[in-house]
Symmetry: C2
Subunit: 240 residues, 2 copies
């Protein structure tokens, strides 16, 4: 066995949705840029479809998301995870329950994404937020952005984007879904956004940097970079 | 929480290589064809770069692959896996060590792939095998195919394909690698193969059914279908 560079094992709270989890893993692998199997990050992944619907839970309906995520976090830690990541923005409304369940850190996708906006677009005035209805209503991005002095624009009708996100989750990533998602993004730009956050991990499956006229910060991409940096003990930006 | 259809949790012995693991998960998700997050298969994945080099181990050099895989299997079972899959053909030379380590079943990719040849190409006489040098030298596919009455053709110089597989593992899935892999496949057809097995999970990353003039059975695809069938308690072929 070749000598492995010291690195920490990532635990991935996944399945929200499964395709977004795979997209996240893909980005970690691609950005690691390893030349052989042995140079990659170890990822322990719980791709769990049994996490109750986050949107329903945030409306006060449905199952106990916090308890489910806490259980998954404990399982990943028991299996050897040294830190946790969760490629789902909406589920971060329940981040405190995860932090309370395990002594290992959770890299918060929302904090990391807002930090990326600050680093990459320090002169931005108004940030356009592409996220689920539950995530928008919970205000987690708005609070983090406001405390950094950024204005925030959200979709005029969040139900339109929410419907698109459920379509992506159902496997529909075709031209019509892409165009409709780009149109929502365009509305945010028209409303003054000079940078956009893909603040739902389904969004990058249908929207790329070339589809919008302003910088697009992908929360999936940001989380993948942070995962690599934390695993290999690098400085922020060193994985780029 | 919506009522979940009863299903078994898959444990995935992964990281051999990481990209092939993600490709396998992608196929499971795609072939499940679920319309919402909650209808997918639960996968507990250990994407572990610390598995020693399988080729070196099969030459009698390097680390203890069997012990590492046995440890991963125990970890996955402890985390809740009810059956195991391993999207790496070569590592199946060590399948007995996994079976001895845990009481839950391992769906054997080699047995499953040979069964798929039998089912989909019952009239085939000669099967062309695209696999690593270690896998070919261990004879696992040849024995399984011979016991079903199939002839087997292997590459004249396995080092050529082995070099291509290491290139794919390094992230090189470009046109040159694709063409060179297709050329090896073509040599097997010229040598009489009337069906080909992509018997290394890196191969489907660069070779598709359209690239060869005979049926191509992807071991990744076969394992993904078997995973779904086992998880949902379906009959063979029902996931198609």
């Amino acid at each position: 066995m070749g000598k492995l560079a010291p690195r920490k094992t990532a635990g991935v709270l996944g399945g929200m949705g499964p395709q977004a989890t795979v997209d996240f893993m893909q980005e970690v692998i691609r950005l690691t840029g390893a030349r052989r199997d042995q140079d990659h990050v170890r990822m322990l992944v719980d791709c769990n479809p049994a996490v109750p619907d986050r949107q329903a839970a945030l409306r006060g309906e449905g199952g106990d998301v916090a308890a489910c995520l806490a259980q998954m976090a404990r399982g990943l830690q028991a299996a050897g995870a040294e830190f946790l990541v969760m490629p789902c923005n909406t589920a971060h409304v329940f981040a405190d329950s995860i932090a309370a369940a395990v002594p290992i850190p959770l890299i918060n996708i929302i904090d990391a994404t807002v930090a990326a906006v600050r680093r990459e677009c320090p002169d931005a005035r108004s940030v356009g937020l592409l996220a689920t209805t539950g995530c928008i209503n919970a205000g987690v991005y708005q609070r983090a952005l406001a405390s950094d002095g950024f204005g925030v624009v959200v979709p005029a009708d969040s139900a339109v984007l929410m419907d698109l996100i459920f379509r992506i989750k159902s496997g529909d990533v075709g031209a019509e879904t892409r165009a409709a998602t780009a149109a929502v993004a365009q509305q945010l730009v028209a409303a003054g956004a000079d940078v956009l956050i893909a603040g739902c991990t389904e969004i990058p499956l249908v929207l790329g940097a070339g589809d919008v006229p302003v910088p697009l910060i992908s929360s999936t991409d940001v989380l993948a970079r942070q995962t690599i940096e934390y695993a290999f003990n690098l400085q922020p930006g060193e994985s780029s």
